[in-house]
Amino acid sequence: MYIDINLAGKGSDLPKKERVEKIRLISFASLFIIAVLSVLVFLVNLRLSTTSVKKQETQVSQNLTNYNQTIAKISLLNTRLSDISSILARRTDYSQNVEKIINFLSSNSTVVSYQEQGKVLTISISSKSLLDLNDFLNKTLALSSVSDVKLTQLSSASGAFSMTLEVDLL
């Protein structure tokens, strides 16, 4: 009978039991989570470990000592070819263009002087026919590798005409 009256005591036991159960559950769960995460960390560290990779590197490096001369030749060859390629790409060669321009000369015309430096060709020609000089000038102007032509001198003497052109090459 007295036990039945003591409602407070009975009421506080149940929530306490539940709280104990809950907190035990949480503690087991947290232990389990920590264990799982620890295993994961271990596996990831194993996966990212560089020990075996470095061992292999050492082994391959040792094998490569048998090929030192071959490797040196390969490296030097590649460097040399790369350098030659740079020179070929950047060196100027206007001989073909200059040859084309000179070929525009008629049989009555002669080259007095010419100079080609960088992208500029300066050429003096002489002819008995002004028409030939004009023809030469027009053909030079029409050449696709020529960006500009300046007539810097035109004169005549003793029945012959001479002309100096400054030709800008592309």
Binding site: I87, R91, E116
Partner: protein
């Protein structure tokens, strides 16, 4: 008396609290330890994964490069490699190749029916029209019409040592050329980590084909071997 009562009460209270709650102690301590482990052990490990991955990637890349180099070196045709190396060293010699230059001028003059009236060494220092490529400069006078001179220049562009004509001037019967002949000493090679110790790329392969097609005859190759007497630096890295 009062003091003793208070301490006795306090002691009894503590004991009572302990008795009531001792069942919670172990699980609570477990949770606290778990939290501490997570915060001070697991979390730093998680943060370090990215850095470890980067290090691992770098090492794996190194290993791949070394393995590729091993494959390349073990499968290389040594005869072809030596031949290509000789050809490239002929075209761009490691030293000032005066003998090679003179031989080439002579050969080209013969091939284009041009007479060399005179030649003169202008500069033998490390001055080049192309940046980073030292050269020796020659002034060459030819007995040649302009067309022949252009043929001479064109033919010279496909000979060794590789050259660049800086200036051409002349008249109807003679011409004067300023020509740079390039050379470049060998660079030191670092063991196994040299970036050029790899398979030839397409640009290098094209260049190799180009200079192979220059038809440098065996006579020229023999005559134009880099001259040791003109060398100030070592002509071979071996």
């Amino acid at each position: 008396m009062k003091f003793n009562l208070n301490s006795e009460v306090s002691k009894e209270t503590l004991e009572e609290i302990y008795e009531q709650n001792k069942i919670f102690l172990a699980p609570a301590a477990t949770i606290v330890v778990a939290i501490l482990l997570f915060l001070f052990f697991l979390l730093p490990q998680f943060f370090s994964f990215s850095q470890k991955k980067d290090v691992s990637d770098v090492e794996n890349q190194k290993l791949t490069q070394l393995k590729n180099l091993q494959t390349l070196a073990s499968s290389a045709d040594l005869t072809e490699l030596s031949s290509n190396f000789s050809l490239s060293s002929l075209v761009l010699p490691p030293t000032k190749d005066f003998e090679g230059v003179l031989n080439t001028l002579s050969t080209v003059a013969n091939d284009t029916n041009v007479t060399i009236e005179s030649y003169q060494l202008e500069q033998a220092g490390d001055t080049g029209s192309l940046a980073s490529f030292p050269s020796i400069e020659f002034q060459v006078t030819l007995i040649a019409a302009p067309e022949q001179t252009m043929q001479f220049v064109d033919e010279l562009s496909k000979k060794a040592p590789i050259s660049e004509v800086q200036m051409i001037s002349g008249t109807d019967t003679s011409s004067s050329l300023t020509i740079d002949f390039f050379y470049k000493p060998f660079s030191p090679i670092s063991e196994n980590s040299d970036p050029n110790a790899r398979k030839m790329n397409s640009r290098e392969s094209d260049t190799e084909n180009t200079i192979s097609n220059w038809n440098l005859t065996s006579t020229e190759i023999i005559n134009n071997q880099p001259s040791s007497q003109s060398a100030q630096e070592s002509g071979s890295p071996f």
